[in-house]
């Protein structure tokens, strides 16, 4: 599965808008993740996960920044996220099922912030992009 030219264009153009609210979007996606899928909190026993916490804002910003790197190198997401891939495989070892959950919450956050831009085509492009990112991050698991 790879992105078509049209899908890349959609992502790049939406990213311009998203990046202006990057931190808020990252934070909200995590809030949605922890609210809808409380089991995901087990990966963050060391965090204060109350909505609005500094930990959440910091981590949300980190997640979206990484997505930004993937967008910048959209033709070579594997290369852009190589270090993160190793981190997830050897250190974090987040169960692969959770990447789908966070991807879904990112989609919901983007949909609620950019309703007009989140067309069916954009929805497809983002879903595919996040699937590719997830695949890269779990690539070295075994």
């Amino acid at each position: 599965m790879s992105l078509t030219k049209a899908e890349r264009t959609v992502i790049l153009s939406m990213w311009d808008k998203i990046s202006t609210q990057a931190d808020a979007i990252g934070t909200q996606a995590l809030e949605r993740l922890f609210a809808s899928y409380p089991q995901t909190k087990t990966y963050f026993p060391h965090f204060d996960l109350h909505p609005g916490s500094a930990h959440l804002r910091m981590h949300g910003a980190k997640v979206v920044a990484a997505l930004g790197e993937a967008v910048k190198s959209i033709d070579n997401i594997g290369g852009a996220l190589a270090k993160l891939s190793e981190l997830h495989a050897y250190i974090l070892r987040v169960d692969p099922v959770n990447f789908k959950l966070l991807s879904h919450c990112l989609l919901v956050t983007v949909a609620s912030h950019f309703p007009a831009d989140f067309t069916a085509d954009a929805h497809t492009a983002w879903d595919k992009f996040l699937s590719i990112v997830s695949a890269v991050l779990t690539e070295k698991y075994r």
Partner: protein, 147 residues
Amino acid sequence: MVHLTAEEKAAVSSLQGKVKVDVVGGEALGRLLVVYPWTQRFFDSFGDLSSPDAIMSNRKVKAHGKKVVNSLINGLKNLDNLKGAFAKLSELHCDKLHVDPENFKLLGNVLVCVLARHFGKEFTPQVQAVFQKVLAGVANALAHKYH
């Protein structure tokens, strides 16, 4: 059985009252078919599904989407006994329609995206969580009679 607090029930009712069933249903089913094209396998008789535009404007898709959301809304009145409420539909989806229950989760999540798009800020993380709980309950109920 899905347990909702009084607050959660209020959140659902409030959004439910504002949902334009025809619009949301058609959009959710349409997006399912666009974003996950393999789901089109169940809709050979629906006519032109050849492009996202064709799908989103397809009359049969809109009509069926509306049917599905209406059924969901009926389900919401039976949160204490979702398995009972959806028993007949479960048998139908297994025996006649042969739908992999995985698709119930896919459609549920697409519906959540559509609600987020329509309600924006109002579709808070807490409200989303309630809907995810309810939709998971419905998906389970629809899969319950599978054999």
